[in-house]
Subunit: 456 residues, 2 copies
């Protein structure tokens, strides 16, 4: 608890900001909400898309050993028999005989209801997969599941990817997509939802090289978060004990983040061995292996799986970016999001609504929005507008004033340090380009994070 | 049929290319496939992401009257009562009493089974929404649906978007996401799937201005397809008759594309009036309206909805791009994809595997892949490699030869015209930049499509 005492963010503040500014809304709110589902608003969808794009760029585009995939949510039900989910993906549940409340028995201590102290039933296993039926009549139709993880879409396509891309070991397949779990215990905003999005890599290696690749991927993934501005001291690695491992895993390390509710899993890196490929080979009767041209052997590769939550990453980036600082009589709220993640990169702010400023301001706006997500705003005072763009994490405001009509220059105002520079309009795009794309993100504890602004 | 006689593409050729090159695989293929679902392979996921990014850029980033949204697939079930889907989203089905085969009665003529000539049962209405249960025990839990359209996620969030963004009419909300329909009649590859992806705009306008905005959006959307290389003669507009309109629509125009199986819907633009907002206001008991500051009135806006299929767009772009031309004794297959859509923008091809070429080739590869999706390939002869990249639609190949080590220049070879130019390595990035980003896409019928290559 002491670790969080110095942080200015609380979950309540964040939830409130997210709703007010259009980051995240409760799903189906007008109908009282849809349990443990959330909708991403105008800013949230940009942030989430930026997180996904940064991940894809990092694990696919900038590597020479990776390809992407996008498998469907509905898969052949045999997939989940082979993977072990039909038999094993279940939580033990108990009901309180007195107040009827339902609990995960592995989450409560003792034999009495934590709510009312009543007696509990014996635990029953409850499968977390959502079921539905494909075909015209329910009782005749095939039961199918909403995938509880994206990983299996990669394993069942292993041979298809291999034959179409002719990859050599080691290589990986990356995928981003929705997964669904009928969780009993949900909560902490978008941390644990019933519908969520995963970013998973399945990295196939020669058996024997798996432990080294496991360590490499743990390092890679930590670096991804810190490169995008997460403070290293808010991340920690937790290795699963042998008794905590999933049935398919030889080892697993969680990257935990210090969320407002405490340290919780942000991403898991698992050594899934050859379990999944062998299971699918066995259940499908197909040969699923890799032919090594040098040794003339067929190998079933081992798999290292860095599995991240998109929504949890969004939450961690928001939490880590949230800052407050005194500003005259007020509190300035700033989301210090990395420029690559910020939903709106530049705000175009004519100093006033005076008509003379309109043509030039609109011209700058129309030009810049071809390059980036840009907003135009001429409502309220310039000070209030700066505060608004600070609060949604916009790294730069461009202010057009009456001098601009004379000197063909505008003011760029930087979110983090609030420094301002005057730039000729002809150099505006190039200046922003360098600031938005070319600058490293510099972490300066303990005064919060700053990326390089203008040189003094 | 005559219209298609001159086209070189058939569905069979395309399905085969897609599987062989890693564009699209049948879902869960090792288990015999998952009916009417497909998985996007390494190239397919890039093409699909490019289609979505181009759409988002066009309808959100480059407009000043639009914002985005990403609502969850699982919504409060009351949503679908209000929208009319629980009561009305159904097909009439009949069974053959003899062979047990099931048919949509509105798809067959007469009272006999088209397969065996047996008698048919009376039609029964069958709802197309997939159902599942949220909560621990099936019979106690709430029935929820997989959304059959993304649109309702926008309507239920109308007030949240309005209050967080303070938009003025007219404005629109754009969304991309999965939708699910338990279709009885599926097929034509990725044209009609049970799991598919939509790109929808709900554009809110002052009642009375809806008909003009309807026409504007039809034009906008046609232009989007042709800007990205679809031949205008393969698109046609079909206006729905009054008896064909959905229950919520005042008018609807389909943009049809000449697919290999014939003219079929690519996108529908509907005037949904104020039906949905009023239905949700009525069912939720909430005020859902727009306050007009000038007239001091509360308005329920009319809605124009351009609703496109992501998968159908992908299919249309592939079909339209497919070309064959004689080349010596062979047939050269070329996917003439617009550069913005091409999965791999540039292939880096050392002339041979000779070690001397390796450092320079890798250096160029490592630099360029920071900018674009780039592949490195040193297998097989240069001619075969050109063919491979033609077939997957890569607009440029960069060849590094032994002269490159002396003159610090490389050859850029263009996909469509197969022209080659020699470029100093120092100018390579800028040259590709101009070709990939700065050039208009020029349609030159009847010799197929060409985008501007090198000036002679």
């Amino acid at each position: 608890m002491t670790e969080q005492a110095t942080r200015k963010v609380t979950m309540d503040k964040l939830v409130s900001l997210c709703k007010r500014r259009g980051y995240i809304f409760p799903s189906s709110e007008i109908y009282g909400g849809m349990g443990a589902c959330y909708d991403y608003g105008p800013l949230g969808v940009e942030l989430k898309n930026n997180v996904k794009a940064c991940w894809w760029r990092s694990v696919v585009q900038e590597r020479d050993d990776m390809v992407g995939l996008d498998a469907s949510i509905l898969m052949h039900p045999q997939t989940w028999v082979a993977s072990g989910h039909v038999d094993g993906f279940a939580d033990p549940l108990v009901d309180c005989k007195q107040c009827r409340k339902r609990w995960r028995s592995d989450n409560i201590a003792g034999e009495k209801c934590p709510e009312c102290g009543g007696d509990l039933t014996e635990p029953r296993m409850f499968n977390l997969m959502f079921k539905t039926h494909v075909g015209a009549v329910e009782d005749e139709a095939a039961v199918v599941y909403l995938r509880p993880e994206t990983a299996q879409g990669i394993f069942v396509n292993f041979e298809n990817v291999l034959s179409s891309t002719r990859r050599k070991l080691p290589f990986g397949i990356a995928q981003i997509g929705k997964a669904f779990r009928n969780e009993i215990t949900t909560g902490n905003f978008i941390f644990r939802m019933r519908e969520f999005e995963q970013m998973e890599v399945e990295y196939f290696v020669v058996p024997g090289s798996d432990e080294e690749w496991f360590r490499t991927w743990v390092d890679e993934r930590v670096k991804w978060y810190t490169d995008l501005g997460i403070s290293r001291e808010n991340l920690r690695l937790v290795q699963h004990g042998v008794d905590e491992l999933a049935h398919y895993a030889k080892s697993c390390t969680d990257i935990e983040y210090l969320f407002p509710m405490g340290w919780s899993e942000l991403e898991g890196i698992a050594n899934r061995t050859d379990f999944d490929l062998k299971q699918h080979a066995g259940h499908s009767g197909k040969d699923i292996s890799y032919y090594d041209e040098d040794t003339k052997e067929h190998i079933v590769p081992y798999v290292i799986e860095p599995s991240a939550g998109v929504d949890r990453s969004v939450l961690a980036f928001l939490v880590d970016a949230y800052d407050e600082e005194p500003d005259k009589d007020e509190i300035r709220v700033v989301l210090r999001l990395h420029p690559d993640l910020a939903p709106v990169k530049v705000a175009i702010l004519p100093l006033s609504r005076n008509e003379k400023l309109l043509p030039l301001s609109q011209d700058i706006y129309n030009n810049l929005r071809r390059c980036w997500m840009v907003q135009y705003d001429n409502a309220q005072s310039i000070g209030r507008r700066y505060r608004r763009y600070d609060e949604i994490g916009t790294p730069f405001c461009v202010t057009i004033d009456f001098d601009s009509l004379e000197d063909n220059a505008v003011t760029i105002r930087e979110r983090d340090g609030m420094k301002q520079i005057r730039v000729p309009i002809a150099e505006l795009k190039a200046t922003l380009d360098a600031k938005l794309c070319g600058q490293p993100f510099e972490v300066l504890p303990p005064g919060g994070k700053k990326w390089l602004g203008f040189e003094e």
